[in-house]
């Protein structure tokens, strides 16, 4: 373009912008260009870009929703785990309590049996001791009566059996 003489057909050294002879040319090609761009954009480029942007927005929204759901699921799993732990704990407590109660009832039965045995033996023993006591008292009575008769006889008295027995009995009571 350096070879073209400056504004040769443009009327001297004026601005090429004001050379009206080139206006139809410029306007024609501008209109063609704008129409071409408009059709390419409105038919192909803009719908495509809009679709891509919408798709991306959708993808992002979906991903966020999916992440949210996974998080929810993780929380649920955690809750289930906690619940299971809690259940297991209470189960274990129950088993322990059951076992304790079992043992306790066994123990109670055994204790009762033992108590009854002990009570029976105690009663038997008491009876035996009572018999022995009674035997002993009778023996003492007889011995005391005999002894008293002998002593009275030794002093030269005549022992009245009835009187001696009454005295001995009174003494033994006292």
């Amino acid at each position: 373009m350096a070879d073209t003489p400056a504004g040769a057909e443009a009327g001297g050294a004026g601005m090429p912008q004001l050379d009206f002879s080139t206006f139809p040319n410029q306007i024609f090609w501008l209109v063609v260009t704008l129409l071409v761009i408009y059709f390419i954009l409105s038919r192909v480029a803009l719908p495509r870009i809009g679709a891509v942007l919408a798709e991306r927005q959708g993808t992002i929204t979906n991903d966020i929703a999916a992440a949210e759901e996974l998080k929810q699921r993780a929380l649920e799993a955690e809750a289930a785990y906690d619940q299971a732990l809690l259940d297991a704990r209470s189960e274990a407590g129950k088993i322990v309590a059951d076992a304790k109660a079992d043992i306790q009832s066994d123990l109670d039965v055994q204790m009762q049996k033992a108590d009854a045995e002990i009570a029976a033996q105690t009663a038997e023993s008491e009876k035996a001791i009572g018999e022995i006591n009674a035997g002993a008292a009778d023996a003492v009575k007889a011995v005391a009566k005999d002894t008293a008769k002998e002593i009275i006889a030794a002093f030269g008295g005549k022992a009245d059996a009835k009187t001696v027995t009454a005295a001995v009995t009174a003494r033994m009571k006292g």
Binding site: L18, D19, L30, T33, I40, L41, A45
Partner: protein
């Protein structure tokens, strides 16, 4: 894009040469159908747009690659702008606004390539863009709102005495819109490119001036990249604002 070499000792700057429209093939007058550098650079813009927005997104990947990411960012940027400025009912004009935005952006950036031709630096181009917006908006305004669209010029919140004066101002400003809309874009780009070329011209002057000139070119180039994007943005957001006026004319 350095200027022509010095001829006969004197410096010759041709900062406006880069804006010249010329035939690509053969000689002769430039008819409306002639294939010119305008045609070529607009075609290159179309190819770039197709590469970026169609080829770049053909995989429809959920996780985008670099090109698709750029396309999506542009889409999201313009979509948000249209939605925020014009509201939900402006969304159906999104392809139209996106077409304007991407064409201006790509043309501006392509214009920054050395030896290239900046289609958007021509008032013929920007005026067509601006008047297209102007007529679209005006027609939509009347179709959607009927005569109520004229309420745009009748500032009901102002005191009654002021309203006729304000109406005149509003009408003038409404009709100035396409002019400012187009000259803003063309002017920014043309000025920037011309300044670049002037600095590049100074780069051939001498050892003392050349480094400064080259630094200047770099700095202005960076600025121009910024301006390219900002002007595309400004054009687009103003289109959205005008569209909002058409859809909701009440102040």
């Amino acid at each position: 894009m350095a200027g022509e070499a010095t001829e006969g000792g004197g410096l010759e700057f041709h900062p406006l040469d880069q804006f010249e429209v010329h035939r690509l093939f053969g000689e002769g007058p430039i008819d409306w159908y002639t294939i010119t550098n305008v045609t070529m650079w607009m075609a290159i813009a179309v190819v770039c747009i197709v590469l970026m927005l169609v080829i770049g997104t053909r995989k429809r990947a959920v996780v985008p690659n670099r090109m698709q990411s750029i396309a999506e960012t542009l889409y999201g940027f313009v979509y948000t702008m249209v939605e925020d400025v014009t509201g939900k009912d402006g969304i159906k004009f999104f392809p139209y606004i996106f077409t304007l935005f991407i064409f201006i952006l790509i043309s501006n950036l392509l214009g920054l390539l050395p030896m290239s031709f900046t289609t958007t630096s021509h008032i013929a181009v920007t005026a067509v863009l601006a008047f297209a917006v102007f007529f679209t908006v005006t027609i939509i305004g009347f179709v959607k709102n009927g005569a109520a669209f004229l309420g745009l010029f009748w500032v009901s919140s102002a005191p009654l005495a002021l309203r006729p004066i304000l109406a005149v101002i509003e009408v003038i400003s409404y009709f100035v819109r396409p002019v400012s809309h187009s000259i803003r874009l063309a002017g920014n780009l043309m000025a920037g490119h011309a300044v670049l070329k002037v600095f590049a011209g100074f780069a051939q002057v001498g050892l003392l001036v050349a480094p400064i000139a080259i630094l200047g070119v770099v700095a202005i180039y960076a600025l121009e990249v910024l301006v390219s994007a900002i002007q595309a943005y400004v054009f687009t957001i103003l289109t959205c604002v005008y569209l909002k006026d058409a859809l909701h004319p009440s102040h």
